[in-house]
Symmetry: C2
Subunit: 324 residues, 2 copies
């Protein structure tokens, strides 16, 4: 069995080997640029790992791992246009470095390229893996649309928020693992268990993101905290605070998120005080633990010897129990 380090090293080498058309450069340069950013590559690594859980050859799932990573990067390119985000992983985003037309079209091309890899599976299993891939692609789009909607919706419930991050983030982790497992020969029941493991760990991962962005230790986190607050992002912390606060607290939080004249540092300070007053940091940690536990329960139930699951468990811990 291979661990995370071994698989990410293997994957990076394979990803770098992809040969793209040369022309038009306006399409392929942004694609190569985006894929060269690196990143944690958690999704494709778990595809390979999930495959190896059910067969002795993780390389069999390489095309699917590439498909997942290309798809993920396509969503980043388009999301950055929609979110008007200038920086991603410390680099200029595609739409900033080039323009939004090039970002739309190179994203579309990357989506189509993802399918070129997604279709590389044995004919006995292709329809099933593609069904997972397609369903997930649609759900990720739905999640992004809900996220956009929530920017201007002042009554987002905790349930709605959880459903949104499940679609936007959770299901792709689930699909990464389920597709890998199916390629490895998993039976339906085990494939569904690993899917639910992935979705739940993905939910925990996103909630941890919310928590770190506001309450992370800047020295370890590596960037300034409070970005979500400054950009009025309705994170778990915000929607939970709105649920728990009394009328006075609700009004304060609402006015902090709707005031244009407040200094960013002051806004962060006041918002964090409110979050702490209503213990939403603790609520977030409890929620993360809940999804982690549900996910691990699914992993446990998979009909494979426990020691073989060690590296997937390591990934789950790495995703949840982190400071950056």
């Amino acid at each position: 069995m291979k661990n995370y380090e071994q698989l990410i090293n293997y994957f990076e080498v394979q990803l770098a080997k992809i040969e793209y058309n040369n022309q038009p450069v306006e399409l392929y340069s942004p694609i190569k640029y985006t894929l060269s950013f690196g990143g944690k590559r958690i999704r494709p690594v778990t595809t390979l790992m999930s495959c190896e859980l059910f067969c002795d050859d993780f390389k069999r799932a390489l095309p699917q791992a590439i498909a997942i990573e290309l798809f993920h990067n396509f969503t980043l390119i388009h999301d950055d246009i929609m979110d008007n985000a200038p920086i991603r992983r410390g680099k200029e985003t595609v739409f900033k470095k080039w323009d939004s037309n090039i970002a739309i079209l190179s994203g579309d091309t990357l989506f189509a390229l993802a399918y070129q890899y997604a279709q590389q599976a044995d004919k006995e299993i292709l329809h099933e893996t593609l069904s997972v891939f397609n369903k997930t692609a649609i759900e990720v789009c739905e999640g992004q649309q809900f996220d956009l909607n929530y920017e201007t919706n002042n009554n987002v419930s905790v349930d709605e928020y959880i459903n949104m991050i499940k679609l936007k983030t959770g299901v792709l982790f689930g699909a990464s693992m389920k597709i890998g497992a199916l390629i490895g020969g998993a039976l339906t029941e085990d494939a569904n268990l690993i899917y639910n493991f992935g979705v739940n760990i993905g939910l925990g991962f996103q909630l941890k993101d919310d928590l770190l962005d506001t309450f992370g230790n800047e020295g370890i986190f590596g960037k300034k905290t409070g970005g979500d607050i400054v950009s009025n992002k309705k994170t778990f912390l915000y929607v939970k605070a709105m649920e728990l606060a009394d009328n006075d607290g609700k009004e304060k939080l609402f006015s902090l998120y709707n005031s244009e004249n407040i200094e960013p540092d002051d806004k962060i300070k006041q918002t964090k005080e409110l979050f702490l007053k209503y213990n939403v940091d603790k609520a977030a940690n409890a929620e993360i633990d809940k999804y982690f536990d549900v996910g691990i329960l699914c992993l446990d139930k998979i009909n494979i010897p426990k020691d073989k699951k060690k590296y997937l468990l390591d990934v789950a811990v790495k995703m949840i129990d982190r400071n950056k």
Copy 2:
């Protein structure tokens, strides 16, 4: 065998039966809106027709016909953002009626939905039909990027222009027919012949578009001619004129396309005079005839009795020999 009218009626009924998710409405309303515009539906009709050429059941290719039409409409939604086009088929475009974020994301969703239909093929043929679909999707993106590039490139050759419209328009016609044929059981050689038939007819179709936009009879064409000239579109007429004109003619045409102070009607009049001076209307007609003839030769070579090909021939004639 079914003719165009019968197949478009069947297809419209089936397309209208598609059930979409209800939420988020911001994604699915633009999709339903776009698909309700109607249009000629040439691509999906030729998918059904090409299937019936090789088997007795055109309905077998319905999912693929839907996939092709959804994909085509996805490209229209994204192209309209990039071209800043307010109107399509007499209606407001998605990005105008909603906004560009919704247009990006509903387009992405439509692309993913297209794949949900594209994957509905017998497992013995699925990999092959998907390969055609994916390759075509990538080429259409490349064609659109070349088209965007040519807006600011003053040295587009006729060959480059033909290659661009082949990618942007031709290959999707080819793929529509090839996928239908493969679903119908066509052998590789026949599938490739019908692909080349489609590509060539598609090229003729686009060149006819160029011609009608400038030289169409407004009463029959149904809209004002000269739109391409006013928007400085580098059509076949323009690139051919630039190839044939002497230095004086080249300078005049260049300055007409780069002047911001000229009245639209005057610009159209002067440009058309230059086009006629260099006989590019005749050159366009000769080019259309050339592609039509090459296409028909491919259709002829397909190893099927001639009378069965009648309706595909009708479509080719309808695409090329039209006044609107």
